[in-house]
């Protein structure tokens, strides 16, 4: 059974690339992006089970990107950031982030957080462009949908 697909965005390329390599080794499918617009385009055109985003990104406030991704109502979004300000953390959660992790985290911890986010997510294996968020959602169970 194929593991989940993960959308990654961080302007630190080395970090995204090592995340991607690690998750691929573990059998996940990953898409690496390094810019918020790149991330949004990928999010609009492909199906993912989860996104892991930084919120300190160039050109767009990370919280704006988070808001845009939440608006798409497609998959849970985890924030992984160097920002530990509790205010920004609670803003992110209020906007709809599933979890807020402060860097650095071990890959195992990130994997667990991703697994929890997917299994607790109410997003079902909706085809691209199908919403809205609160209709027909199924609780529980990881989504293993094929892109």
């Amino acid at each position: 059974m194929a593991k989940s697909s993960i959308l990654l965005v961080d302007d630190d390329r080395d970090m995204v690339d090592s995340f991607s390599r690690w998750f691929k080794r573990k059998g996940y499918r990953t898409t690496s992006t390094y810019h918020p617009m790149q991330c949004l385009i990928a999010a609009a055109n492909q199906k993912f089970d989860v996104a892991v985003i930084d919120i300190g990104l160039p050109d767009m406030n990370g919280l704006e990107l988070l808001g845009e991704l939440i608006q798409l109502e497609r998959f849970p979004v985890l924030v992984l950031s160097g920002i530990s300000d509790p205010k920004i953390q609670s803003n992110a959660i209020e906007l709809g982030a599933d979890r807020f992790l402060v860097k650095p985290v071990s890959m195992e911890l990130l994997e667990r957080a991703i697994g929890d986010a997917i299994s607790q997510s109410h997003f079902s294996s909706l085809p691209v462009g199908v919403g809205p968020r609160h209709s027909g959602s199924q609780h529980g169970g990881p989504t293993n949908g094929q892109t």
């Binding site: 630190d12 970090m15 390599r21 690690w22 920002i83 650095p104 890959m107």
Partner: protein, 364 residues
């Protein structure tokens, strides 16, 4: 030593009686006073920068004091200038203004007025220095907080690199080397976190909370693994009203830091006692009633010569740790308008006493 600690004054005056009188009066006020009877003699005193103030007679045997004012300002803008003159014409007044003279006296002058003028200039200089020092520290604080924040990406890269290596490396020797790198990375992270917490400005967000819930939360979060879970927390609240308006997030860190110190110091079965009492005493000038919280442990306690240093940044007796934990405790408690002290050694282990006003107002 700072030039404002024992401020030096140079009196340039050709009348030896005035010169001597001024010297005596000002030395009684705590200034260190040099004298000169002419422009040439004044120049022999070396650098102008060492003087907090220069008192100049306008008419000197080898010229007017305008020349010296120009020199002082050209070399060091910081020194205060006071002019005493027998004749205040428009030229000398305008020239004095141009050289940012601190005060201007007509002879005969009242020495008390000169003294109070000098004292006022000194107060202003000291305030200016404090402000620029505070500004400098704030900038350093922001810079350090920024570095600590930015370093998280680098530490994350190291961590994910380590995790990637672990997927492929199975040789036990190499694995143990990788573990050491990981351990160092975690230490670096903790150190930078503490430095950031210490350096960043404290903006308190007050909430009405029960203090016992704050320390219990901190206790639940403190890592007790090193003591095999044998550590105990005993509370004697003595029916004390523990409802306080505090920043519970910040205060939890205070308790966590104190608990962690105790757990690190107590080798076997650590027991930490918390005892509360109402405290009528005011904290840092705040008149609001306060609660006194004594936190004691059954460890070796603080050595007498360490008690004064406990709250100093980077003081530590532990092999690991930055020595910032107790500085953060002090800074946070004082930001709440409270105070923190080390017990006087009546109890066998370490004792930390926090006095926290119930209605704290943020102290900058």
């Amino acid at each position: 030593m700072d030039k404002l600690d024992v401020p030096q004054v140079l009196v340039v005056e050709d009348d030896p009686d005035i010169c001597e009188n001024l010297q005596q009066i000002l030395e009684l006020d705590g200034y260190s006073v040099d004298t000169a009877g002419s422009i040439a003699e004044a120049r022999q005193n070396g650098s102008w920068a060492r003087y907090f103030a220069v008192i100049l007679d306008r008419q000197l045997p080898d010229g007017t004091s305008d020349e010296l004012m120009r020199e002082i300002r050209a070399n060091n803008a910081d020194t205060a200038i006071i002019v005493i003159t027998g004749l205040a014409d428009v030229d000398s007044t305008v020239n004095a203004l141009r050289h940012r003279v601190g005060d201007f006296f007509l002879k005969p002058f009242n020495p008390d007025i000169l003294r109070s003028s000098l004292a006022q200039l000194l107060r202003a200089k000291r305030a200016e220095k404090r402000a620029s020092e505070a500004e400098r520290l704030a900038i350093i604080g922001q810079m350090i907080a920024g570095i600590a924040h930015e370093s998280r990406n680098a530490i994350q890269r190291i961590q994910s690199g380590i995790d990637l290596l672990k997927l492929d490396v199975h040789d036990q020797n190499l694995v143990s080397q990788i573990d050491k790198i990981e351990e160092a990375n975690i230490s670096l992270k903790s150190m930078l976190d503490e430095i950031r917490d210490y350096a960043a400005p404290i903006n308190l967000e007050h909430r009405e909370v029960d203090l016992s819930s704050v320390w219990r939360h901190a206790w639940a979060n403190v890592n007790c693994n090193g003591n095999n879970g044998k550590a105990k927390l005993q509370e004697s609240t003595n029916n004390c009203n523990l409802q306080c308006s505090v920043d519970d997030f910040r205060l939890e860190q205070v308790f966590r830091n104190i608990f962690e110190n105790s757990l690190a110091a107590c080798e076997n079965a650590p027991v930490i006692q918390i005892e509360c009492a109402d405290s009528g005493q005011s904290c840092n000038g705040s008149s609001s009633e306060a609660v006194k919280i004594a936190i004691r442990d059954n460890g070796p306690g603080f050595a007498i010569d360490h008690r004064q240093k406990v709250f100093e940044p980077f003081f530590t007796t532990r092999q690991r740790g930055t020595g910032l934990g107790m500085s953060i405790v002090k800074r946070t408690i004082e930001a709440h308008g409270g105070s923190v002290a080390i017990g006087n050694g009546d109890s066998p282990g370490a004792e930390v006493i926090i006095t926290m006003p119930r209605r704290a107002s943020q102290v900058q």
